[in-house]
């Protein structure tokens, strides 16, 4: 069983390569478990529990039972998922074809029907041109509906197929493929992609995390008219070598009622951002002006901030443990399963300051982020 162990605060964090799972554990349990998976005999382990930790035989048996269950779970996880496979998919004359431009790269994006375009394209309108010809581009992404499946391919290479119920996975994979094309890299060049939003000022970025609906995007948008710039929304790539947060030009999506509230407080929003209304989801997309002319930007991450908006409640920011941050972050992120990257990822997290920010008042949010930025928290 291949694994990596890191000490973070008072715990051990163990990543298991085969299962691609992370175990966060107190050190005494770790000491027994690690001996168990290394094949130390049960009698010797019982003695170790008694001598080192003064455990009763019943407690020691319970520890060994848990260790066995844990080992079984790690061995039996990661079942091979049957993926629908398609060979080469060729575009047809009535397909909708766009050219996406960013970071001085052009990508040809083809949708087989309007429904698929509506699912993916609204976030990229500001970097796209509709084209009629199929002029050769270095990269061509095809999104096509075949027998009820939505397929994604890059340069004639099949990437995956999803049902319409799994459309967020298609959207995520599409973003990843586009990110790789714009930066001329592949998946293993990234440490992780966080479900987060990031803003920046000068050379540093602040990453906002939290469940969908927690207010990450709104916080970013509000701060973007108060001295910060949006680096990336919803999909935060971290470079495996520099550990910097990369920009990605997808528009910020905000639910319409929230946007109205924001405009009342910050009328300049309407002037600095162009909007596109998606009639089905009742989202509005905020497009920072001039994205298409921008080169890719990379910023050092100053802090991870878990954000929570509520209509009433305290406005405060406080430090949280890195372990607590990891417990939220791991299940909500794609983390590279490459061994070297996992090691770098855990080192990166162990040095990053982590905070929880609760807010009900937008002005207070701006004040609190200002404090964080000036190292006053």
């Amino acid at each position: 069983m291949e694994f990596i162990v890191k000490s973070i605060e008072s715990k051990k964090v163990i990543w298991f390569q085969g299962a691609n799972q992370y175990l966060i554990v107190d050190i005494p349990f770790y000491e027994v478990f690690i001996r168990f998976i290394n094949g130390v005999e049960i009698d010797k382990l019982m003695l170790f529990c008694k001598d080192k930790y003064g455990l009763s035989p019943d407690d020691a048996k319970e520890i060994l039972y848990c260790s066995k269950q844990l080992k079984l779970r790690l061995q039996n996880s990661n079942p091979k998922i049957q993926q629908k496979e398609y060979s080469k998919i060729s575009s047809e004359s009535d397909w909708l074809i766009y050219r996406y431009s960013f970071n001085f790269k052009e990508v040809n994006v083809q949708f087989s029907n309007n429904k698929l375009r509506e699912i993916i394209h609204p976030k990229y309108i500001h970097i796209s041109d509709k084209i009629d010809d199929n002029r050769t581009c270095e990269n061509t992404i095809i999104v096509a509906e075949i027998e009820g499946w939505v397929t994604l391919s890059l340069n004639d290479k099949f990437i995956g197929a999803w049902t319409f119920d799994e459309i967020h996975l298609l959207q995520g994979k599409f973003s990843m493929v586009l990110l790789n094309c714009f930066n001329d890299v592949s998946d293993e060049n990234w440490l992780a992609v966080l479900h987060a939003s990031a803003i920046y000022k000068r050379d540093e970025s602040i990453v906002f995390l939290g469940e969908s609906g927690s207010g990450k995007s709104i916080a970013s948008a509000l701060l973007s008219v108060h001295g910060y710039k949006i680096l990336v929304d919803d999909f935060v790539p971290i470079d495996a070598i520099t550990k910097k947060v990369f920009s990605f030009p997808a528009a910020t999506s905000i639910k319409e009622p929230m946007l109205k509230e924001m405009e009342a407080i910050f009328p300049q929003l309407g002037y600095t951002l162009v909007r596109f209304k998606d009639p089905k989801t009742k989202f509005k997309y905020l497009y920072p002006m001039g994205w298409s002319s921008f080169n890719s930007i990379q910023k050092v991450c100053k802090a991870l901030v878990f954000i929570k908006y509520s209509r009433s409640g305290e406005n405060k920011i406080s430090k949280i443990s890195k372990i607590n941050a990891l417990e939220y972050l791991i299940p909500d992120s794609w983390i590279s399963p490459k061994q070297e990257n996992v090691s770098v990822f855990l080192d990166w997290i162990s040095t990053l300051p982590c905070y929880v920010l609760s807010y009900s008042d937008n002005e207070q949010l701006i004040l609190l982020i200002g404090k964080l930025n000036r190292n006053e928290v």
Binding site: N20, Q21, Y22, L23, I24, V25, D26, I27, P28, F29, E31, V32, F33, C49, Y53, L55, D59, E62, I63, C66, Q69, L70, R73, L74, S77, I167, H168, L169, Q171, G172, K173, S175, M176, A192, V193, H195, G210, E211, S212, G213, S214, D234, F235, S253, K255, T281, F306, I307, K308, Y309, S310, N324, E327, Y328, I330, P331, D332, S333, W334, I335
Partner: protein, 55 residues
């Protein structure tokens, strides 16, 4: 003051347990401490079309 701190501590612990319950593959409290087994996302994903509740 002590009571307030205890209450805060309890709230923090409860929210941590709620998180573990929601995300953890396998978690336990034993005589030698706790453990939690977590899986990262198998693929990159974007937000669901209809955002849910709070953090």
């Amino acid at each position: 003051m002590m009571r307030k701190n205890k209450k805060k501590e309890l709230q923090r612990e409860l929210s941590r347990r709620a998180c573990m319950k929601k995300f953890a593959k396998y978690t336990a409290v034993t005589a030698l401490g706790t453990f939690v087994l977590l899986s990262p996302k198998k693929a990159q994903a974007s937000s669901p079309a209809n955002p849910g509740g709070g953090f």
